[in-house]
C-alpha cells in the first residue's frame, strides 16, 4: 500500500509514443492503451509505425517499432503532431523517436537495455542517459527488465527470456498509473488472449500490476493525469482501421446489391490486409482470388464484372501502374469495376510502409488515350467504409471503372467508428436487362440510358442478348468494331459526358466555416485530420479561414467553382508535389492557388498547416 499521496492534474489531451524493438510488443502495448482509453470514453486516434524490415536485428534502428496514440476529452482527428511522452524500451527506440518528442517532454526509459552493445547498435558513442544530452526533458529511468524479472520470479515455467517478453506489460501498467487508466480491460484481454498459455497469462498480468504498483510507490510518479470523457455522438462504437473499413464497405455494397463480391488481387503493401479481411467473409459469398500478378488481378475482376458480380481489385501505386492497360479495357467495355489504390511512398518501389498521396494524377491520366475515370478519395480510416460503398454505387450507376484512393496512413491507422445499423443502409439498385432494346429483337450493347448514359449490363446466361464487346474503337449503340472518324469522336464524347454527368447526381460540396473569406484551404484524402484541426484552431482565434475537403475528385462537385470564387486565396496542402492543385488550376484557373507540399513519408502535422494559414493571413 502506498503512503505517497498522488496529485491529479486535468488535461485535455495527451499524445504518447511507445517505441521498442519489433519483438517487444510495442504495437500490442499501444493498442491496449488506446483500447482502454477508448473504452473509458476518450476520443482516440492512433498511428502505428511499423519497422521497415521484416526481421531487423534486435536493437538496431531498422528494427524499431512504434505506436503513437492521441487520447483526449475532445474530438481528435489526428494521432497528434508530436508526442509529449515517449516510452523507450531500448537505445535505438530512444534515438529514433527522440527528434519527434516535444521540447520538455517526458521520457520513460528502460535503463537495463542501455548496455554498451545496445548503445553501439543504435549508433550512440556515449550513453545519452549520462552524458547530459537529455537535459531539458523529464527523464524517468526505470530498470524495467530487472523489476519485471523480480516481479515474475515466482513463475517457474518460464525462462528469463520468456519473462522478458512481459516487459511491455510492465511499461503499460506504469503508463496506466500515470494516466489514471483502469486495469480491468487489459486484464480481461490477457486472460482471453493467452488462455492456452496460463504461465504466460500469469506473467503478463503480474507484470501489468507490477508496473502499476511501481508507479504508485515511486515518488517521481505522483503526478497523475486525468483526461475526461470526450463528447462523442451517442451510439455503439468500435475501433477500425482503414483497410478493414474498406473491406466491410465492399461486402456491404455487395449485400445491398444482392450480388456476390469478387475481389481479384495480388498482395502488395499496404493493401494486402483488404484481401486478408475479405477472405474471411466467405459466408457472404465473397470470392477472393489471389491472382498470379497485378494484371491477372484486374483481368479476373473484369471477367467477373462481365459475369455480373460486384467486382473489385485492390493495390498500391506500383500495382496501379501495371493495371493501366486493363483499366482502359474496362473503360472501353464500359463494365463496372472498382480499383482501390492504397497509396504509399513512390515513385517506383518507393517507401512501401510510408504514406503519400501522389497517385492522384496517375489515377486521373495514367492511361493511353482519352480515358476519363471517376476518382474518389477517403478522408479517414472509418470513412473508408462509406467511400468504398460510394465507389461501388458510382461504378454500377455509370457502368465504368472507378478508382478509390486511400493511403497507408488511413489503411493502417485506426479510429473509433460509430457502428451503423446495417438495415438502414439503403439498397443499391442494379438492373440487368432481360429483353432486347433495339428494333427487330436486336440487342444493342451500347445503347445508352438517357439520364446516366450508361450502357445496359447484360450478363452471359441471359437468353437472346448475346453480344460481343472489346477494346477496339466502336460504333455507337451497336458497339460493332468501327474505325469511322465520326463514330470514334462520338464515343469519346459520350464516355466523357457519362462521367461528367455524375456531378448532377453526386452531392454538392460542403464548406466548413464561412462561405466567403480571405482564405480557403482545399484538401483531399488523409490530410483531412490535420487540415480540419488547423482550420478549427485558426477559427477559434477569430481568423477568416474556411475548409473544403474534397471527396469526389472526378468529376468535381458541381458547386465547387462557385465556392472557390468566394475566397481571395486558396491554400492546397498535399502529400505530393502538387497534384490536386494541377486539377484545380486546369478547371478553375483564374484563382490564386498556393501550394503546400510535403513528400517525406509522414502525414502533415496540425502545426504545419496552422502555421501556413497564419503566415498567409498575415501577408494579406
Amino acid at each position: 500500500m502506498s503512503e505517497l499521496k498522488p496529485i491529479y492534474k486535468d488535461v485535455d489531451s495527451v499524445v504518447i509514443r511507445f517505441a521498442g524493438d519489433s519483438g517487444d510488443g510495442m504495437q500490442l502495448t499501444g493498442t491496449q492503451f488506446s483500447s482502454t482509453s477508448a473504452v473509458l470514453g476518450n476520443d482516440i486516434s492512433t498511428f502505428p509505425d511499423y519497422p521497415s524490415e521484416i526481421r531487423a536485428p534486435a536493437g538496431t534502428l531498422a528494427g524499431v517499432s512504434g505506436f503513437q496514440v492521441n487520447f483526449a476529452s475532445k474530438h481528435v482527428l489526428t494521432p497528434g503532431d508530436a508526442p509529449q511522452v515517449l516510452v523507450a524500451m531500448n537505445p535505438a527506440a530512444l534515438k529514433s523517436a527522440l527528434p519527434d518528442l516535444v521540447p520538455g517532454g517526458t521520457i520513460i526509459v528502460n535503463t537495463d537495455s542501455f548496455t554498451k552493445n545496445n548503445l553501439a547498435k543504435a549508433g550512440y558513442d556515449s550513453n545519452p542517459l549520462e552524458d547530459g544530452s537529455l537535459e531539458g526533458y523529464k527523464v524517468h529511468k526505470v530498470p524495467l527488465t530487472t523489476m519485471n524479472r523480480e516481479a515474475l520470479k515466482d513463475i517457474e515455467d518460464l525462462t528469463s527470456k520468456e519473462k522478458d517478453r512481459s516487459q511491455n506489460f510492465f511499461a503499460l501498467g506504469l503508463t496506466f498509473w500515470i494516466y489514471d487508466r483502469r486495469l480491468d480491460t487489459s486484464l480481461k484481454w490477457i486472460e482471453q488472449k493467452f488462455a492456452k498459455k496460463p504461465a504466460v497469462a500469469e506473467a503478463n498480468k503480474k507484470a501489468l500490476f507490477a508496473g502499476y504498483h511501481f508507479g504508485e510507490n515511486t515518488e517521481a510518479f505522483q503526478v497523475r493525469y486525468r483526461i475526461r470523457r470526450a463528447h462523442l455522438e451517442p451510439g455503439t462504437y468500435r475501433r477500425i482501421t482503414g483497410n478493414e473499413a474498406t473491406a466491410l464497405g465492399l461486402v456491404t455494397a455487395a449485400q445491398k446489391m444482392g450480388k456476390p463480391l469478387f475481389y481479384g488481387t495480388y498482395p502488395i503493401t499496404p493493401a494486402s490486409d483488404i484481401l486478408h479481411y475479405l477472405s474471411t467473409y466467405k459466408n457472404f459469398d465473397v470470392r477472393t482470388f489471389q491472382a498470379e500478378d497485378e494484371i491477372a488481378g484486374i483481368g479476373s475482376t473484369i471477367g467477373a464484372s462481365f459475369g455480373g458480380a460486384l467486382a473489385v481489385t485492390g493495390t498500391s501505386g506500383p500495382g496501379l501502374a501495371l493495371k493501366t492497360e486493363a483499366a482502359n479495357l474496362a473503360l472501353m467495355l464500359e463494365l463496372p469495376i472498382v480499383i482501390i489504390d492504397v497509396q504509399r511512398g513512390g515513385p517506383s518501389t518507393g517507401m512501401p510502409t510510408k504514406t503519400e498521396q501522389s497517385d492522384l494524377l496517375q489515377a486521373m491520366y495514367g492511361r493511353n488515350g482519352e480515358s476519363p475515370i471517376p476518382v474518389i478519395a477517403a478522408q479517414s480510416s472509418a470513412d473508408c467504409f462509406d467511400t468504398a460503398i460510394e465507389a461501388c454505387r458510382i461504378a454500377v450507376r455509370a457502368m465504368t471503372p472507378v478508382i478509390m484512393l486511400s493511403d497507408g496512413y488511413l489503411g493502417n491507422g485506426a479510429e473509433p467508428w460509430k457502428i451503423p445499423d446495417a438495415d438502414k443502409i439503403p439498397p443499391i439498385e442494379v438492373k440487368h436487362p432481360t429483353e432486347p432494346n433495339g428494333e427487330n429483337g436486336k440487342f444493342l450493347p451500347y445503347k445508352r440510358d438517357p439520364e446516366t448514359m450508361a450502357r445496359p449490363w447484360a450478363i452471359p446466361g441471359t437468353p437472346g442478348l448475346e453480344h460481343r464487346i472489346g477494346g477496339l474503337g466502336k460504333q455507337p449503340e451497336t458497339g460493332n468494331v468501327s474505325y469511322d472518324p465520326d463514330d470514334n469522336q462520338q464515343m469519346i464524347n459520350e464516355r466523357a459526358e457519362k462521367v461528367a454527368r455524375l456531378a448532377n447526381w453526386l452531392p454538392e460540396q460542403e464548406v466548413f466555416g464561412d462561405e466567403t473569406g480571405d482564405l480557403l484551404v482545399v484538401s483531399w484524402g488523409s490530410t483531412f485530420g490535420a487540415t480540419r484541426s488547423a482550420v478549427q484552431s485558426a477559427r477559434a482565434e477569430g481568423k477568416k479561414v474556411s475548409h473544403v475537403h474534397i471527396r469526389y475528385i472526378n468529376p468535381f462537385p458541381r458547386n465547387l467553382g462557385d465556392i472557390l470564387n468566394n475566397f481571395k486565396r486558396i491554400l492546397v496542402p498535399e502529400m505530393n508535389m502538387g497534384q490536386l492543385v494541377v486539377l484545380l488550376r486546369a478547371k478553375y484557373g483564374t484563382h490564386e492557388f498556393i501550394q503546400q507540399n510535403k513528400v517525406t513519408g509522414r502525414p502533415f502535422t496540425i502545426k504545419e498547416v496552422y502555421e501556413k494559414i497564419n503566415s498567409l493571413l498575415a501577408e494579406s
Partner: protein
C-alpha cells in the same frame, strides 16, 4: 446441367459480322468446325462465352453469335478465370495464338493451366505474328527470316505441349486446322472435359508464314510425319501403318513393324496419373526426326478450381451461417457512448459491454511471439557464445613491424595467427601461416626490410565474445577459416579461436551417445 432438348444449329452461332481474315487463312476452318460442334454439345447458347486476346486468332469472338469479349494482349485467361468463378455454369472458351498465349500471355497461361479452372483454351499456332505483319513468334523455328529477323531468328522454339505437361494441365491435345474431322473431335473432347482443356491447333498463315506446317498437313507427307494417338492403342503411323514408336530405355524411337512386333510398341494411355508419357509425346518433334503426335495427349480428372472455391463458400456458410452484416460490423469489441456523458471523469468510465477491444495486430504479435511451432524448429542455442569456448589470448604485435619479425613471432610461439594493431591497440590487420604459404614464401628476399603491412589482411572478419558459436561454425564451414579473431567493442583483439578448438568443443558437447 438440365436435360433440355435444344434445337441449335450452326446458323445459331453465326454472327452478323463480316469475317475479315485473309482469304485462305486457316482460321476459317477453325471457325467453321466450332460452329458445327457447339450446337451438338447440348448447352444453351446463352451459356457459351468466347474470350480472346489480341491477334488474328483473337478476332474469333466477333464471328460467333455468343457472348464474347475481345480483350487485351495475353490476358484472356485472366478474364475467363474471373468470369468462370462468378458463374461456373457458363461454358467459357479462350481463343489465343502463339504470340498472345505464349509470349506476353505466357505467365497467365501457365497459371491457368495449373489451377485447372474449367476453361477450354484453343491456341492457334501459326508460328508467326500475323496481325502485326510478320515478326517471328515464340514457336518459330530458329533461322526464321522475318522483318524483325532478316538474318534469321535466334530463339529456340517454344514447345507448348511440353510446357502444358510441365505445369500439370489435365487435358492436352493437338490437331491441325485442315484436319477438320479430327479437329472437330478435339473440340468435342475439350468441351466435355471437366477442368482446363488445352488444344494446340496447327494453323497456316499463308501471307506471312506459308507452309510452316506443310509436313504435317500435306496429304503426301503427313502420314510419315504425324502419328494419330488412340487411347489404349499402340503408337503406329505411316501410310501403310507400317511404323511404330518403341521406348528404348527412356527414349522413344521409330521402328519398322517389319522388324519389330506390335507388342513391343509404346501404348498410349490418356489417363496416366503423372505426365511422363505425355512428356515423351511432347518431345517428339519433326526437327528431331520423330513423327508429331496428333490427338489427345492427356486427359485426367483432377479437382476443378472453381468447384473447390464454391465448396469453401458452402462450408463457410455451413459453419458460420449465412453472412449477417450487423453481426460482421460488431465483430470487434465495442463500447457504448451514452447520452448523459457530460461531466464524467474519464477514468471512472465504464467499458461498454464488458468485452475487451482488440486489433488485428495483437493476433500477429501473439502468434509470432508465442508460436509453439516456432520454438520447436531446429534452433541453435544462442547461449553458446564464443566466450563459452574459453578462447586463447591472441598473439598481438604492432602493425609497424617487419615481415621478418612477424614470421619470427609465429615461428617462436608455434601459432598460426598474429594480430596487428595500431598505436591505440585497435585492430589493423592479421597475418597468418596461411599468408606465409600463399603470399610470402619464395616471393620475398629480404624479410626484415619488408613491412608486415604489405602482407597482412586488413578488413578482417572478426567476431565478438558474445557472438554465437553458430556464427563461428558458419565462417569455418563455408569460408574454411582456420582461426577466428575476437575483438571487443573498441575493436581491440581479445581472443582467438582455432578450428581445432571449435571441433573439440563440438565433439565434447554435441556428440550423441
Amino acid at each position: 446441367m438440365t436435360e433440355v432438348t435444344l434445337n441449335l444449329t450452326r446458323k445459331d452461332f453465326v454472327s452478323d459480322q463480316m469475317v475479315r481474315w485473309c482469304p485462305g487463312c486457316g482460321d476459317y476452318a477453325i471457325l467453321a468446325q466450332m460452329q458445327r460442334v457447339l450446337p451438338e454439345l447440348g448447352i444453351p447458347k446463352e451459356d457459351i462465352v468466347f474470350i480472346s486476346g489480341i491477334g488474328c486468332s483473337s478476332r474469333f469472338p466477333y464471328y460467333m453469335d455468343t457472348y464474347g469479349i475481345h480483350s487485351i494482349h495475353g490476358r484472356a485467361p485472366t478474364l475467363a478465370s474471373g468470369l468462370k468463378l462468378t458463374n461456373p455454369n457458363l461454358q467459357v472458351w479462350v481463343i489465343t495464338g502463339d504470340g498472345d498465349g505464349l509470349s506476353i500471355g505466357g505467365n497467365h497461361l501457365i497459371h491457368t493451366l495449373r489451377r485447372n479452372i474449367d476453361l477450354k483454351i484453343i491456341l492457334f499456332n501459326n508460328r508467326i505474328y500475323g496481325l502485326t505483319k510478320g515478326q517471328y513468334s515464340p514457336t518459330s523455328l530458329p533461322g526464321t527470316k522475318t522483318k524483325s529477323s532478316p538474318m534469321g531468328s535466334i530463339d529456340p522454339a517454344f514447345n507448348p505441349t511440353a510446357v502444358a505437361v510441365g505445369v500439370g494441365a489435365t487435358f492436352i491435345a493437338r490437331t491441325a486446322a485442315t484436319d477438320v474431322k479430327h479437329m472437330a473431335e478435339m473440340f468435342r473432347r475439350a468441351a466435355h472435359h471437366k477442368g482446363t482443356s488445352f488444344v494446340e491447333v496447327y494453323q497456316n498463315c499463308l501471307i506471312f508464314n506459308d507452309g510452316a506446317w506443310d509436313y504435317a498437313t500435306n496429304p503426301k507427307t503427313k502420314h510419315e510425319n504425324i502419328i494419330y494417338l488412340e487411347d489404349h492403342k499402340p503408337l503406329i503411323f505411316g501410310k501403310n501403318k507400317d511404323k511404330g514408336i518403341r521406348l528404348n530405355g527412356i527414349h522413344p524411337e521409330v521402328v519398322s513393324l517389319d522388324e519389330v512386333d506390335e507388342s513391343e510398341l509404346m501404348v498410349h494411355y490418356e489417363d496416366m496419373p503423372d505426365g511422363s508419357l505425355s512428356y515423351f509425346l511432347s518431345q517428339m518433334r519433326h526437327e528431331r526426326g520423330m513423327p508429331e503426335p496428333m490427338g489427345v495427349f492427356r486427359c485426367v480428372d483432377e479437382p476443378v478450381y472453381e468447384e473447390e472455391v464454391l465448396q469453401q463458400i458452402d462450408l463457410a456458410i455451413e459453419q458460420k451461417g449465412k453472412g449477417d452484416l450487423q453481426q460482421l460490423f460488431y465483430q470487434a469489441d465495442t463500447w457504448v457512448v451514452e447520452d448523459e456523458s457530460s461531466g464524467q471523469n474519464g477514468s471512472n468510465g465504464q467499458g461498454g459491454n464488458g468485452s475487451v477491444p482488440t486489433l488485428g495486430v495483437d493476433e500477429e504479435y501473439v502468434g509470432v511471439v508465442f508460436n509453439d511451432e516456432a520454438s520447436s524448429e531446429p534452433y541453435f542455442s544462442p547461449t553458446d557464445t564464443l566466450s563459452t569456448l574459453n578462447p586463447r589470448q591472441p598473439l598481438i604485435a604492432s602493425q609497424d613491424i617487419s615481415l621478418g619479425e612477424a614470421i619470427q613471432k609465429l615461428h617462436n610461439l608455434d601459432v598460426g595467427l598474429l594480430a596487428l594493431v595500431d598505436d591505440n591497440g585497435k585492430l589493423a590487420g592479421v597475418f597468418t601461416e596461411g599468408d606465409v604459404l600463399r603470399k610470402v614464401a619464395g616471393n620475398v628476399t629480404d624479410l626484415d626490410a619488408t613491412p608486415v603491412k604489405d602482407f597482412m589482411t586488413t578488413n578482417v572478419t572478426a567476431l565478438k565474445e558474445d557472438d554465437t558459436l553458430a556464427q563461428a561454425i558458419h565462417l569455418m564451414s563455408i569460408h574454411k577459416f582456420r582461426h577466428i579473431l575476437l575483438v571487443d567493442d573498441d575493436n581491440r583483439p581479445v581472443g582467438v579461436l582455432s578450428s581445432r578448438r571449435v571441433a573439440h568443443y563440438i565433439q565434447d558437447n554435441f556428440a550423441e551417445n
